[in-house]
Amino acid sequence: MTDYRQILSVEEWTALKLRALYASQGYRQYKMRKFEPYDLYVQNKDFLMDEAVITFTDTDGRLMALKPDVTLSIIKNSRDEDGTQKVYYYENVYRVAKGTQAFKEIMQVGVECFGDITREDLVENLLLAAKSLDEISCDNILEVSHLGVVAGTMESCGLVGGAKKRALVALGEKNVQALKGICAQEGIDEENTSAILSLVVVCGDIDEVFASLDKLAKGDKAKACVAEFKAILLALQEKGVADKIRIDFSLVENVNYYSGLTFKGFVEGIPTSVLAGGEYNNLMKKMKRNARAVGFAVYLDGLAKAEGLS
């Protein structure tokens, strides 16, 4: 019998395994065109990783774009239905590669779940992300954060507007000294400064940081988000995946795109994240959809560089 692993590249082989995994979990494949009307990306540019898009004029004169993002297309082209809709995709996206100022074709596999999203759906999505990482390598870590906890803590401690934006950048860098400087500039007292710095310090395994999460909760919004986050973490512990989970509130990239739960997957030997996802309820609201959503993408383009993935 043909051994397809000898023929397929590591990206192709991983994509096949992931597609089989998602299909086995009841997700149906969502196939789409390579391009969309350019308007879609102009109207939702806040939700794109980068504003640069490859455009061309279609034969009827309409300005079209090669997809820089898959989620926007799925949400735009789907309809509200009762319950939840679960889809997976296997598509190429076209984005500017960091540091090169040149467009790159990136192969992506991912899942989207939208509709009446419950806590169970969020846990299921995280479990599927953990399983996806296992398909790539057994040496993996799923970094998990909750943007509601981060925003709630910052706002209740007095960081709003431009100061909050700068603080999010510093938090994303784990830059304690910069955070201290911003708190000092804003005249934030010692107790609240300490709560904000905890967003960097509270980092580690579920067991290691679970008890510290309550100390972060300042204000009603943060308290509600901490309670939700803790319930999700407990469910992950019950499902037996706690050893691969790291809580890390410095995960604040793409705050325009994600709200609430957010996560990123790393594999030993690959210097960048191979998986990114979270709740994207802001995008649903912007697209006038009466639903919540959660999903993630697996970036396959970096896998070939890593040796000995198991």
């Binding site: 960091k98 540091g99 040496d139 870590i141 970094e143 860098e173 784990k174 830059n175 000294q177 910069a178 980092c203 580690g204 790291r246 890390d248 410095s250 790393f266 594999v267 030993e268 690959i270 210097p271 960048t272 994240s273």
Partner: protein
């Protein structure tokens, strides 16, 4: 086998001072001080491997995972915005990013300001924040020559003591960012080596506070 942490150090005087700090923090590698042309030095016992790289390349080595951690100037981090963690200000190599011009220069806001610099992104962001229309001239060295020869109105550059500016009859118009050496870490490496990297960071922090 003990996991080795790869450390990218900036070649030159600052790098030697940075290495001394690592040594005092409990991560020595005596062979690094031997007179030779080697670029990689390892101490398996304490679990570190140092290598010298061009200062402006440290962030690239760390971002791309060739090094787990490294020491880079804040100027380089601001200019290239690498996707790395910035774990500690080592309080070394302190200076400022500043705007300088010929003595007596007055900015005429009726016309585009020509700015010569090695730090195009930093200069663009600084003037963008002020809504100032600028023409950026990217140079790779001898920036101070630009206003003297009329190539630019002002320069944006690193100023330490201001001696080079004074000798060329230039003066600081505004200092706008504090610069110093920072300990940076690759985001993926940090997840897999968190304990060890945190130990190194704490050791360096203690030494920095002692100074």
């Amino acid at each position: 086998m003990k996991k080795i942490i790869n450390v990218a150090l900036p070649k030159g005087r600052l790098g030697e001072k940075v290495y001394d700090l690592f040594e005092k923090a409990g991560y020595p590698c005596p062979s690094i001080k031997e007179p030779n042309r080697k670029l990689v030095f390892e101490n398996e016992e304490v679990g570190v491997r140092y290598f010298w790289v061009k200062p402006s390349d440290v962030a690239i080595y760390v971002e791309r995972g060739a090094a787990d951690i490294g020491v880079a100037g804040k100027d380089i981090l601001l200019e290239y915005a690498p996707d790395v963690y910035e774990l500690l200000d080592l309080q070394m190599g302190k200076c400022w990013m500043a705007v300088a011009a010929k003595a007596g220069f007055v900015d005429d806001r009726n016309r585009t300001l020509t700015v010569a610099t090695k730090f195009s992104n930093i200069a663009k962001q600084y003037y963008f924040g002020q809504g100032r229309d600028v023409d950026i001239v990217h140079l790779n060295g001898s920036i101070e020559l630009a206003p003297i020869l009329g190539l630019s109105d002002v320069i944006v550059d690193i100023v330490e003591t201001g001696a080079t500016l004074r000798e060329n009859k230039l003066e600081v118009v505004e200092k706008f960012v504090d610069i110093s050496a920072r300990l940076i870490a690759n985001k993926s490496s940090f997840q897999f080596n968190r304990q060890k990297i945190e130990e190194i960071r704490k050791g360096l922090e203690i030494q920095t506070e002692k100074k």
